[in-house]
Symmetry: C2
């Protein structure tokens, strides 16, 4: 049954329009949120809108990895203890936060800002692939290779980890990037795919289970 | 598993704090929404925050029924075809919109702005009960009763419909209001409760089914 909309006020209707433009927020939820905000003290609502406005107006991106940052260089790229010769390529800021939360990765990142998706009109030039290629080129430049005190430069080859989604768009993007950087002779890897930690075989889909068998690993008791 | 929060930027963290203060929005959803807003054109985000800010700053309430309104008197109270001697008392603006959407009600409203809830620190004086009592007193004043051309004044007694929730707080509020207005000799009614339209007996709870039997109505084929 359709929800008829007879707003008692244009102000309310405009606010509901705005809130329901957010992804995953329907008009009923938007109305609920608008009425909630209406009940809050005025300064709370000002604080709410100011925090969102400031994020959009004042946001900066790390000049190295394109991550959201308060400074010119983000805290990860600025951390000299991280391995700057391992670059993990991700779609979004959220992916960086997720991988950081694992505590398992000690290299740096490169945020693409999206994924190649012809259906959504996103091509390679809309992403930060050009900057990634420049970074990779820099990694194997004579200057970088001879800079003796460069951290992590212990003779190991530079590595680019393509940490993209396993869907068609992710695979397409990974393949495109691979073609752009393979000429530089860096190691290119992608995320391991298989059963989730603690997953039961019974409930795994066949593709995942198949990959888990093909990419099986030595048992280390 | 707890979601660790290492925000790459204070601006982002502030925005997530603000968005997750909304009811029913967790920090993960808030992050998703913040990153969505970050990808939008700057003027869209300004439009978004302005619509919300304006709602809170410029909202007005109908001086009659306390409904949100763009004018001093809302479109329902201002509609001369509506029965001004039937007042439907509701908790919130949303309830008015829901009842209006049924198209079954032709009286006016009174928005309480909440419900009596000692646990949430909401007492009668936080609601618009005082104004309701004044309105009811006005309905039975000699001036109103002798004003020949008052619409709907066809000798029928004035009626107050208590359209509140069926929970303890709703019942408490209804009882409180009843005690305040019963002295004026108006008819006081409450919403019919019973099986939902099209409901199957099999799935009805016992309280609802019980009320449906007690309040059974003449079969009109």
């Amino acid at each position: 049954m359709a929800y008829k909309e007879n707003y008692p006020s244009k102000l309310l209707e405009d606010a509901v329009d705005a809130i329901s433009s957010l992804p995953g927020v329907g008009r009923r939820s938007a109305l609920r949120l608008a009425l909630h905000l209406l009940k809050q003290p005025q300064e709370n609502v000002h604080h709410f809108t100011a925090a969102i406005g400031r994020l959009r107006d004042e946001v900066r991106y790390c000049r190295e990895c394109m991550m959201i940052s308060d400074d010119e260089v983000c805290s990860i790229c600025g951390d000299r203890s991280r391995d700057r010769r391992t670059i993990c390529v991700v779609e979004s800021v959220r992916d960086v936060m997720s991988i950081e939360n694992t505590g398992q990765y000690h290299g740096v990142y490169h945020v693409l800002g999206g994924i190649i998706s012809p259906i959504n009109g996103v091509g390679p030039s809309d992403l930060t692939i050009r900057q990634l290629v420049d970074r990779v080129a820099g990694l194997v430049s004579p200057e970088a290779l001879f800079e003796a005190d460069a951290p992590g430069l212990d003779g190991a080859p530079a590595e680019v980890i393509l940490a993209l989604s396993g869907d068609v768009e992710g695979e397409t993007t990974a393949f495109y990037i691979y073609r752009q950087i393979s000429q530089y002779g860096v190691k290119v890897s992608s995320l391991a795919r298989g059963l989730g930690f603690g997953d039961n075989l019974e409930y795994a889909d066949e593709l995942t289970l198949g990959r888990s068998i093909v990419n099986r690993q030595l048992f280390k008791p």
